[in-house]
């Protein structure tokens, strides 16, 4: 960004100022941690890193310092595809089709807890 500042005759005083927001940072990564064997990896957060190796290293430092997991995945955030929030209704609602829900069925007492 260039600012006009008052200058004495004959002087040039264009001040170029770079703000933090113009700086190119590291790419974003999504972090998935599996808490223990036999269960799925769960999204735990995101972080910045320059490459896959340092992304794993950062994940270790940022998310798994307290024994949270046995396995860590990192995925470039730009490789994650998602539908637009406005489309959510089309994708994720049961659309009043109650038979899609387990609660729509009567469970005989003999079955007990499901």
């Amino acid at each position: 960004m260039t600012y006009e500042v008052p200058v004495a005759p004959g002087e040039s005083a264009d001040i170029e100022e770079t703000t933090g927001s113009e700086r190119e940072g590291w790419p974003l990564w999504e972090v998935f941690v599996r808490a223990r064997r036999g269960i799925s990896h769960v999204h735990i957060g995101s972080l910045h890193a320059a490459d896959p190796e340092s992304a794993l290293q950062n994940a270790r430092d940022v998310y798994t310092r307290r024994g949270e997991g046995v396995s860590v995945w990192v995925v470039p955030s730009e490789q994650v595809y998602a539908f637009e929030p406005e489309a959510a209704a089309d994708y994720v609602e049961a659309n009043e089709k109650v038979y899609r829900l387990a609660t729509a069925y009567d469970i005989p007492d003999e079955v007990g807890q499901m």
């Binding site: 590291w26 890193a49 950062n58 430092d61 940022v62």
Partner: protein, 240 residues
């Protein structure tokens, strides 16, 4: 193996504790000003590992000494001349490359150190060393990967990493002098492999500075201690 004379054993513990305390203080200076948030957290984690080792060693040294001095007394209540840390760890952070090269040199020294001491027949020291060995393995992985990334990176990162090697090399022979000479081969192997992959060159200048283990320090330690000890000296025996 720790020396058998009780005073020597205490001095040896204090020396290792001072190394870890001073480096923890240096790494802590990065907090809130590291190049990236993730590096900030990583350096904080590494600093806390070093601080934890220092605390355990000070406590153990105080017990052996038997004069009722606790970890705070030993960490914060001594004069500059009493500190026995290596000159390397008191060197200023400089840029991130300087900090990572310093860390690599120190990690490559502590790797054989903790392996050796974890086989000690002094059970408390062996326990502290075994825990520290695991942490050092991670520190070494972190510092190695960064030195390689910077050294074999851009023109600027290579220049900064090479400057760091040049500036800190003079403090490396002290790492493995005297009773630590048996760690030299492992140190050279670890550091040599990383510098080779990082395309960094070892300076030819044979000049080396030593003296830290005898309390003769570079001009930087006094400032570090002044900042670190200020609270305890202004408010003696304060507790958080």
């Amino acid at each position: 193996m720790p020396p058998q004379d009780p005073d020597d054993r205490v001095s040896a513990l204090l020396a290792h504790a001072d190394d870890n305390l001073v480096l923890a203080q240096r790494l802590g200076e990065w907090i809130a000003s590291a190049p990236e948030l993730e590096i900030d957290i990583a350096l904080g984690n590494i600093a806390l590992d070093h601080l934890g080792v220092a605390r355990a060693l000070y406590t153990h040294a105080g017990d052996l000494q038997g004069e009722g001095r606790g970890e705070d007394d030993l960490a914060l209540g001594r004069e500059e001349r009493d500190y026995l840390n290596l000159l390397l760890v008191e060197q200023p952070n400089g840029d991130f490359a300087r900090t990572m090269v310093r860390q690599l040199f120190f990690d490559a020294y502590q790797t054989p150190l903790w392996e050796d001491l974890s086989a000690s027949d002094a059970p408390v020291l062996a326990g502290i060393a075994a825990k520290a060995a695991k942490e050092t393995a991670y520190h070494l992985q972190y510092s190695s990967s960064w030195v390689i990334r910077l050294g074999d990176g851009t023109e600027e990162s290579h220049r900064r990493a090479q400057d760091a090697v040049g500036a800190l090399w003079r403090f490396t022979s002290e790492l493995t002098e005297d009773d630590r000479a048996s760690y030299r081969d492992e140190w050279e192997r670890l550091v040599g492999a990383v510098l080779g992959e990082a395309k960094l060159e070892v300076p030819e200048d044979p000049y080396q500075r030593t003296g830290g283990r005898h309390g003769y320090h570079t001009e930087h330690l006094g400032y570090l201690l002044a900042e670190m000890q200020w609270m305890q000296r202004s408010y003696p025996e304060m507790k958080w």
